[in-house]
Amino acid sequence: MMLLLAYRPFIDPLPIGNSTAWVWLFVPLILLVSVAYKTIKLRDLNELPRAAAILAAQIFVFMGFAAAALWVLTLFA
């Protein structure tokens, strides 16, 4: 019997498999982390959308740099 036929959300894992779709999970992860962190740090929540967007962009950029650096490292290692 195929186990996936009885898929139950929050009990069974998503069928991500070996596809590269998992990379897109970083987008909600980074956005949620940015908003939660800035909610704690900011005094004025009116500044939250702008501050969270800037932090999310910084995380995206530096993760991209880190990924590129590691990729280059694997070429020569």
Partner: protein, 181 residues
């Protein structure tokens, strides 16, 4: 127009007597924040902050469970990750429920043996664990934020600052009391 007399630079304005204040600890609010993300801020009278924190941290935690399933919260198999996950109290309930399912099954996790849940592997396990652990770590920041509050920085002081045009330097014109007829 009357001009205020210039203040002498040698004579600083008298400083207000610094009241001796003791730090204010909110253990009950911190406990509430651990029980449910955002509840601690709600208890301290910050409902807007509480809603945003509850939504973001709750979405991260539930998202992790959705991606990896119940098996990503396992105190026995990966205790180091559980250190982060346990900072959101419902992780204990999830771990207890997973252990109950395993206990009641009394069989192998072979697909032919009809296991109570499908164990997560590879990317699904990684991402599910990462989401739930990050939710716990962010909730730890929220708990620390409500645990200690400087009495000189009450919640009222966290209201929006005045716009610049209202705080500009210059003579203030006071409106007559009573308003227009």
């Amino acid at each position: 127009m009357a001009v205020d007399p210039p203040l002498s630079p040698a004579a600083p304005p008298p400083a207000a007597p610094r009241a001796k204040v003791s730090p204010r600890w909110h253990f009950a609010a911190a406990f509430l924040g651990w029980l449910l993300p955002g509840l601690g801020h709600f208890a301290l009278g910050q409902p807007q902050r509480a809603v945003v924190l509850g939504t973001t941290i709750g979405t991260l935690w539930l998202g992790g469970l959705l991606i990896g399933g119940i098996s990503v919260i396992d105190r026995g198999d990966h205790p180091a990750w559980f250190l982060g996950q346990m900072l959101v109290a419902p992780s204990f309930a999830a771990d207890h429920y997973r252990a109950k399912l395993v206990r009641e099954h009394q069989g192998s996790f072979d697909p032919d043996d009809n296991p109570p849940f499908e164990p997560a592997f590879a990317r699904a396990h990684e991402q599910g664990t990462l989401f739930t652990s990050l939710a716990g770590l962010l909730n730890m920041l929220a708990i620390i934020d409500v645990l200690y509050r400087d009495p000189r920085d009450p919640p009222e002081a966290r209201k929006p600052r005045k716009p610049r045009d209202q705080t500009s330097v210059g003579p203030k014109v006071s409106k007559p009391a009573g308003g227009s007829p």
